[in-house]
């Protein structure tokens, strides 16, 4: 599936998404607040994604450690393994991999859910039932993804580091305490804070794109499928673009 058929389409699409996102700030976060729905979305989006994020995070930490080890050994600096893995996970791999997994799970589910709600007129039904669907469906989901992804990332990082600890212990012996001391020795606030902040944007992107694609789903099951699919593709691409922007920005303001 080609994401962009031509430039005009691309520009139109960008404009529409921007307007959709703008609507979030101009209308979505004004009363009346759908607190109950927000909580239930947070539960579904955050808590329910945790096992997946935890599992992938664990494997990632383990594999990363095992992959990095040989080259560090060849430089004779395998004792620096926790430091390297720590920085890699906290600064980049944790946030990005978690966000991509999240986009895959949540972006597609939002796209498909709202898409099918759209084509079966459930969204219209909501509006008729005295509910602003943008606030009820979009704002809650976007806020939930924005708030839950950083938490998932933090927990994922922690589990990843635990995986890395096990990875280190496969071929040598380190105490958990010493491992974390080493990891945190080289970490600074400027490693963690931008990493957390960028996951806020990742989460926002996943939420907005999922909702936009769902809301603009065309009729039929195929339309819903396309919505889900393009929500994942587009939000994954956006995650990388935001990642690039963050690293440039943090460099610019000298946080690196």
């Amino acid at each position: 599936m080609s994401l962009i058929t031509n430039t005009e389409d691309f520009l139109e699409q960008t404009g529409k998404i921007s307007r959709f996102a703008g609507h979030f700030f101009s209308h979505g976060i004004k009363p009346r607040f759908e607190i109950k729905e927000l909580l239930s979305q947070c539960y579904l989006i955050g808590y329910k994604s945790f096992p997946l994020v935890g599992l992938t995070g664990f494997i990632m930490g383990l594999v990363l450690t095992m992959q990095l080890r040989p080259s560090l050994v060849s430089y004779g600096v395998q004792s620096e393994l926790p430091v390297m893995v720590g920085i890699a996970i906290v600064r980049e791999i944790g946030p990005v991999i978690t966000a991509l997994i999240f986009a895959g799970k949540i972006g597609s589910s939002i796209g498909a859910e709202l898409g099918s709600m759209k084509v079966t007129e459930q969204i219209d039904a909501m509006e008729v039932s005295g509910t602003n669907p943008y606030k009820y469906l979009v704002a809650t989901r976007v806020v939930a993804t924005t708030l839950m992804l950083p938490i998932l990332t933090l927990l994922g990082d922690a589990i990843s580091l635990f995986g890395a600890y096990i990875g280190v212990n496969i071929s040598s012996v380190t105490s958990l305490r010493f491992f974390f001391t080493q990891v945190f020795q080289s970490l600074t606030y400027s490693d963690i804070v931008p990493a957390v902040i960028k996951t806020l944007f990742f989460g926002f992107a996943v939420g907005i794109i999922g909702c936009y694609k769902g809301f603009n789903s065309t009729k039929g099951t195929q339309g819903v499928g396309i919505s889900a699919n393009s929500a994942v593709v587009l939000s994954s691409v956006l995650i990388f673009i935001i990642d690039l922007l963050t690293v440039q920005l943090t460099n610019l303001i000298g946080l690196n």
Binding site: L39, Y43, G46, G76, Q78, I151, L152, L155, F184, T188
Partner: protein, 331 residues
């Protein structure tokens, strides 16, 4: 509705767990960066920082004791570094402690090392200025080591010649030879320098060994190689004895020189010298023996060092340079 409540509890746990991770991470970093530590500060002035930056660690006797808070140029040759010191450590630092800039490992971050001095002194108070110690880098140390080695080699060369002459010719000739005085003197000067170098070296190497023991060794490489640390320690001990020997020798030779010079200048001249002949000859010969022994030991140490894999590269480079220098005039 009960399910909703249950879900909210799970969500609450989930969010709290996330925040907990964030807080622990911040705390762990804060502990390292001393954000939650004290506002206790010490100062030290250096002529060069060798790349020390704000936020670098401060070690006291090798343990984490704080961070570099600020760096300020006082004038073109003086830089004042403010150290933020952990409240737990501050009471152990005395006013006469020395601050030096060192490296975590061979190529790691710069650190400020605060070393206690044996002599008694009061505990530091907030804002005290610590005496700065000139930094000794591994590079410098190795250079000094090689210089010392060369010096000792040339001294032993010169002394050897003297001894040969002493052995072959009559003591008379020596005494008559006007050149022997100054040459002996310059030899002694060299020995002096060499022994000073050697003692500097010892200190430097000692520090290196301490660092290695602390696990701050060459990028983790030395960490594992305890055998190397042992070798180095041994080398240093030998070096120390060599330099002690050299010292002793210098004293003895100095005494002889003074007496010889004295005699000659007094006009007692040859006769007196002759009287002392046997004594002098024996003394000089013993001294030279000692020198030989000292240099031998030193050379052995140098050999040992050369064979140690860690310094191999350095000596190879030295050799190459030498060869290049030799080759140059031929071209």
């Amino acid at each position: 509705m009960a399910k909703q409540g249950e879900n909210n509890i799970k969500l609450g746990l989930f969010v709290l767990a996330g925040l907990l991770v964030l807080m622990v991470a911040f705390y762990m970093i804060g502990k390292n960066r001393n954000i939650f530590g004290s506002d206790f500060e010490l100062k030290a002035r250096f002529s060069s920082l060798n790349g020390l930056m704000e936020g670098n660690n401060v070690l006291f006797s090798g343990i984490q004791a704080g961070t570099v808070k600020s760096i300020e140029m006082v004038n073109d040759t003086t830089i004042e570094v403010t150290l933020q010191i952990d409240s737990k450590v501050k009471s152990f630092i005395h006013k006469n402690a020395l601050a030096a800039i060192g490296t975590e490992g061979l190529m790691g971050n710069k650190v400020v090392n605060i070393q206690p001095v044996k002599a008694a002194s009061f505990s530091v108070s907030n804002g005290d200025m610590l005496t700065a110690q000139k930094l000794i880098s591994t590079e410098e140390m190795l250079q000094t080591l090689s210089k010392t080695n060369n010096n000792i080699a040339s001294i032993s060369e010169a002394l050897k010649a003297t001894v040969l002459r002493l052995d072959s010719s009559a003591i008379f000739d020596i005494l008559n030879d006007k050149t022997i005085g100054p040459s002996l003197k310059s030899s002694l000067g060299n020995i002096n320098k060499a022994s000073k170098n050697a003692s500097d070296m010892t200190m430097g190497l000692n520090e290196l060994v301490t660092q290695i023991k602390q696990g701050k060794g060459a990028a983790g490489l030395l960490l594992t190689d305890t055998a190397f640390a042992g070798n180095l320690k041994q080398a240093i001990t030998k070096l120390k004895s060599a330099s002690d020997n050299a010292n002793k020798l210098t004293l003895q030779a100095n005494m002889i020189m003074t007496s010889v010079n004295h005699d000659m200048n007094d006009g007692h001249g040859t006769l007196h010298a002759l009287l002392k002949d046997s004594l002098i000859a024996r003394k000089i010969s013993i001294s030279l023996d000692n020198v030989m022994k000292g240099t031998d030991g030193f050379n052995q140490n140098m050999e040992a060092l050369k064979h140690n894999f860690f310094f191999k590269g350095y000596f190879k480079d030295l050799e190459k340079k030498k060869q290049a220098n030799k080759a140059l005039p031929v071209q």
